[in-house]
Amino acid sequence: MSQFVFATAEYASGDWESAPALPENVIDTLAKYTTIDVAPVGVNVKLSSDELFNYPFVWMTGHLPVRFTDAERRNVKRYVERGGFLMIDDHNHDITGVFHKTVNEEIERLFGKMTRLPKDHELYRCFFVFEDGPPNTHHELNGYGDDLLHRYLDAVLVNGRIGLLYSSKDYSSEWNFHAETKKFMQQDPTKFAVNLIVYALTR
């Protein structure tokens, strides 16, 4: 079995690199709780490149407007339809923000309207159990961005499986810190990342 490599999506428009510490943190969490053979270093992968298809799980984030190029659009569609898992997180945590608007426009153009994931979805139970659906972030609780607690995540389902997951919760801010900091925290806020990756690899 090949090693799992955490991949960050690199796209032509916007600030794809806005959460530089997140990959390290998620890799650390994955190693802490699972025996998944995870690569110690993440990679940046261009959405327009065929290398995208080497990674079963890809993280995408940003604050700025997202306009896919034709090659990016073509690859994202193929990637999702062929069994990949693309996680898109709004770093603005703002449903009136430009990232949310433009990404949703792109997703709808490629796949149609997304499906709202129920709180008892397998995603919230496949490793850690999140009874109340997607865990809240400090940014939501502190009223930043759109000052909303987003209770659900939206998804593009392919044959019943999540192929693309969209979050307005801003996990990119929540998990964008040095992994060592976790030892000073009562609760590990990055646990949900394990569920995301376990789901992507096993479902």
Partner: protein, 647 residues
């Protein structure tokens, strides 16, 4: 000639006139009915029942007209009535003729005078006039009706009327011997109005390819009753048209089979919808994403090419201007003026924006793209967008908190070179005042400084030319910088041997090149920093929070569309020789299923269907379709004595 003989002769001529005029009036009435029906049909199509009733109405009208004339002229049968009619027209006879024709009342031998008067009457003249008037009127009316008929030429109407006639008979329904009304089929395709394409007619269609939303009218001969068409879950009833029946539908969005039925007869036609593609837009200028090291001034030319398969309606430029950093951003969306593209298939959109009016500042990001629309008012409008160009204005924070690569050290290199040039210039000017060893020492030191700058330049060249995967490529900037580095080597050599005045021209050139690079726009070099590595072994399974297991739902096997089509094709192909009609129907449905997912298979099946319809062997086309459904051979690599290719 005796009076009785003369009256009998007149009776014969009058009876003949009555019969002749009855015939002409009957013909005129029959033609008048047809004329009337044809005139009404010109205004609106006649209902099938009315069409079928035309022939009976014609007969009725003819019988009525003829009968009426005969009834009116029934007096011509009686000799007495004819004699009285003559008396009526010749009052001078004083009933001599009526009396003379009855030998019992007035025998000639006893009433010679009476008979003489009767014989002197000019009967033939007014009988002849009456004959000409009666027959002439009827002929005239019949000629008028025939003239109208000749102008209207209602042959289709009469054909339809004759075909529909059996339907009126007791027991109703189409008669058994009626031919297959689907046998002689025509399809007329009228593309949607926005496409401005001409309508076309296809005879004996097996497949109709047309733009989505096109109006497709299938026409056949015979009455419309009982002819139906099924497309998806909808059933259409045929309507009567000028040439028989017709079925009209709109080209659906997905391929479908249109199944037409006439009693036990069936005919399938593939509806092959053609999508009106959205416009394709390509941004030609600016060519690349760019990061400006300072806030740009002046104007920026934007140029895009738009193309469409049918015709372009309009287009415009769209801008997103974001300013701010980290968590605080402001974004403005702007659109340029709408440019009408006049249904052209290709057009160029051009705009010029003034940087000074945008309020750019360090950290600003400008996204530019071009949008074009077509005229599609059926499934559209089709919207095409170009890829987005991103123009950034760099800010100091780029190099520390976000940007993986440090900004190019051209600025510091330029400053170093400028200082070195100034020092060298001073050295040259003070050469005479310095001792030889001091002069050589200083020049040697400048040589080292020049070498230091050269190494920095080469390091930047390497960074610029690194493609991230172990290879390299030359860029405009790296090319210039490499040229500067070569000049630095020469200058360094001259400085090392205490020839600063020889080195100076090279150093001036170096400074000029660095200045050009410094002021030029540079490529944004994001994502080149190596990500941080995690010590996996140290942290492995050190987490304290507990997970819980849950049953895992296995992923459904992917549906193999080609395998399903292949299985259906095998069954249909097996029927090709034993039951060609059944094979034809099956292949038509398989072709529809293949149209979107396997166009090559659909094309081969189209050939097979045509061959089967013509009664020709379809084996080759079927084999071609079957091959197209098989996976492509896969190269396995490595040592393979037999070639390494597996099916």
């Amino acid at each position: 000639m005796t009076p009785i003989e003369r009256v009998r002769r007149a009776r014969g001529r009058l009876a003949g006139a009555v019969v002749l005029s009855a015939l002409f009036w009957a013909a005129a009435a029959a033609m008048a009915v047809i004329d009337l029906a044809a005139l009404v049909a010109l205004i609106a199509p006649l209902p099938p029942l009315v069409r079928a009733a035309i022939i009976p109405l014609v007969i009725l009208a003819a019988l009525a007209a003829g009968g009426a004339v005969l009834w009116r002229g029934r007096a011509a049968r009686s000799v007495e009535r004819v004699a009285l009619w003559i008396e009526e027209h010749e009052p001078s006879l004083q009933y001599a003729l009526v009396t003379a024709i009855d030998p019992r009342i007035a025998p000639a031998e006893r009433h010679a005078e009476l008979h003489r008067i009767a014989e002197g009457a000019n009967v033939e003249a007014f009988v002849g006039r009456a004959w000409r008037r009666t027959v002439g009127q009827a002929v005239l009316v019949a000629l008028v009706a025939a003239g109208v008929l000749a102008i209207l030429r209602p042959s289709d109407l009469l054909e339809g009327a004759v075909r529909g006639l059996p339907g009126l008979l007791p027991g109703g329904g189409p008669p058994a011997p009626m031919a297959n009304r689907l046998a002689d089929l025509t399809a007329r395709v009228e593309p949607p109005a926005y496409a401005r394409l001409r309508a076309e007619t296809i005879d004996e269609p097996t497949s109709v390819a047309a733009l989505i939303g096109s109006r497709v009218t299938f026409t056949g001969k015979g009455p419309a009753e009982g002819v139906t068409g099924d497309v998806g879950k909808d059933t259409l009833q045929a309507a009567a048209g000028e040439r028989g029946w017709f079925l009209r539908l709109t080209m659906p969005k997905e391929p479908a089979v249109f199944a037409m039925h006439d009693r036990a007869y069936k005919r399938l036609v593939v509806l092959d919808p053609r999508t009106d593609s959205a416009p394709t837009v390509r941004l030609k200028l600016p060519l690349h994403d760019t990061t400006y090291q300072t806030v740009p001034k002046g104007k920026l030319v934007i140029e895009a090419e738009a193309t469409d398969d049918i015709g372009l309606a309009y287009g415009y430029m769209e801008y997103f201007l974001s300013s701010g950093s980290e968590e605080s951003f402001e974004t403005k969306q702007m659109t340029g003026p709408r440019v009408q593209l006049g249904n052209a298939r290709a057009a160029t959109l051009r705009a010029v924006i003034d940087f000074d009016t945008l309020g750019l500042k360090p950290g600003s990001v400008l996204h530019i793209r071009t949008v074009a629309f077509d005229y599609n008012d059926v499934t559209g409008p089709g919207k095409g967008v170009s890829e987005t160009r991103t123009l950034r204005v760099a800010e100091p924070i780029d190099s520390t908190s976000i940007n993986a690569a440090p900004p190019l050290p051209i600025d510091s290199m330029w400053i170093s070179q400028r200082l070195l040039n100034m020092k060298t210039d001073t050295l040259i000017r003070t050469k005479r005042k310095l001792k030889r060893e001091d002069f050589v020492h200083k020049s040697s030191g400048y040589s080292n400084a020049q070498e230091d700058i050269r190494k920095r330049a080469l390091a930047v060249v390497a960074l610029l030319e690194d493609n991230g995967v172990g290879g390299s490529f030359e860029t405009e900037t790296s090319k210039k910088l490499r040229e500067a580095a070569d000049l630095m080597w020469t200058a360094r050599e001259h400085l090392a041997v205490a020839e600063p005045d020889t080195a100076m021209p090279y150093m001036i050139k170096i400074l000029k090149i660095l200045d050009e690079i410094r002021l030029a726009n540079r490529y944004h070099m994001r994502g080149l920093l190596a990500p941080v590595a995690v010590n996996i072994e140290r942290v492995r399974l050190t987490g304290t929070e507990k997970a819980s297991t849950s049953p895992r739902n296995a992923r459904d096997a992917l549906h193999d569309a080609n395998a399903a089509l292949a299985a259906r094709l095998d069954v249909a192909a097996a029927l090709a020789h034993t039951a060609p009609q059944a094979a034809l129907d099956s292949l038509t449905y398989i072709r529809v299923a293949a149209l979107t997912k396997a166009p090559a298979v659909a094309a081969a099946l189209g050939e097979a269907i045509t061959a089967l319809q013509k009664g020709m062997p379809a084996d080759d086309a079927l084999a071609q379709a079957r091959r197209a459904l098989e996976p492509k051979p896969r190269f396995l690599g490595g040592s393979a004595d037999w070639g390494g290719v597996m099916p």
